[in-house]
Symmetry: C2
Subunit: 155 residues, 2 copies
């Protein structure tokens, strides 16, 4: 199985980036895992939300081929950590050799990208900053891989 | 209003500690906010869960007086960020001058402490590591303070 974590732009908070790097490292014994940062829209005023989302969509869609796409969305399905583990395991055992976790930028994702995704996942009823969302996602996927392998629960 | 974030033991992941420090700093213009780290149980085998929880409870309970206690619990109530903001605002306007956010260690909290709390809050149906829980909590409280003041939403 291959895991791709896909989002527009770098993680500007260097401490959160360090936590992401750490989880990515700890995922390697389980599977191929990488973070792909596509170009983010710059120099466009926030009032032009559509233009920002479209600019970012063009970067993201290049990486959306040939995998099962799970996108994070506040309108998505909430799960327990155990349910997420079973969900990932099921996908890994079915056709999907590659799981793509897609996280929008600070304005979210273009609607036309949302139509391409296979599953919408919500981490919480609360709204997390988009950079913290990345960290929580990687922690949950790392936890899921441990659960799948039957390793003791990382607390 | 005064905010106290209370938990046993230091945050060992220095990157997560740096993120906590940052949120604590950003909370200062809104209110007095501090983190209190009480002694954590050491040298006790994990199989003696009750002894660990009781040892930690003795440290925590010293700081549980004179405030409204919100404890994080996987059996707690889930809220949106807006609902949390309204909840904090309501407590701030009522008798509670001090809000105490209590987060258990890696084994959770002693049952006798759970009985003392005023409200149980759940951040997600998912299980986060206890150190990541601290970060998500501070981000949500910081977000709540911004929402209460009507500041633009930190993304």
């Amino acid at each position: 199985m291959e895991l791709v974590f896909l989002w527009p732009g770098k993680t500007r908070n260097r401490h959160l980036q360090a936590v992401l790097d750490d989880y990515l490292q700890r995922l390697q014994p389980f599977c191929r895992a990488r973070i792909v940062e596509t170009p983010e829209a710059r120099g466009i005023r926030e009032s032009s939300a559509e233009r920002i989302l479209e600019t970012e969509a063009r970067g993201l869609e290049k990486y959306l081929k040939g995998g099962y796409i799970i996108c994070l969305s506040d309108k998505g399905t909430m799960m327990t950590s155990e349910e997420l583990a079973r969900f990932i395991q099921k996908q890994a055992m079915s056709s999907a050799r590659k799981l793509i976790f897609l996280v929008g930028g600070f304005l979210g994702l273009a609607p036309r990208l949302m139509e391409k995704v296979n599953f919408r996942l919500s981490l919480s009823p609360m709204t997390f900053s988009h950079e913290l969302t990345r960290v929580v996602l990687l922690e949950q996927v790392y936890r899921a891989m441990n659960l799948i392998k039957g390793y003791s629960y990382p607390k």
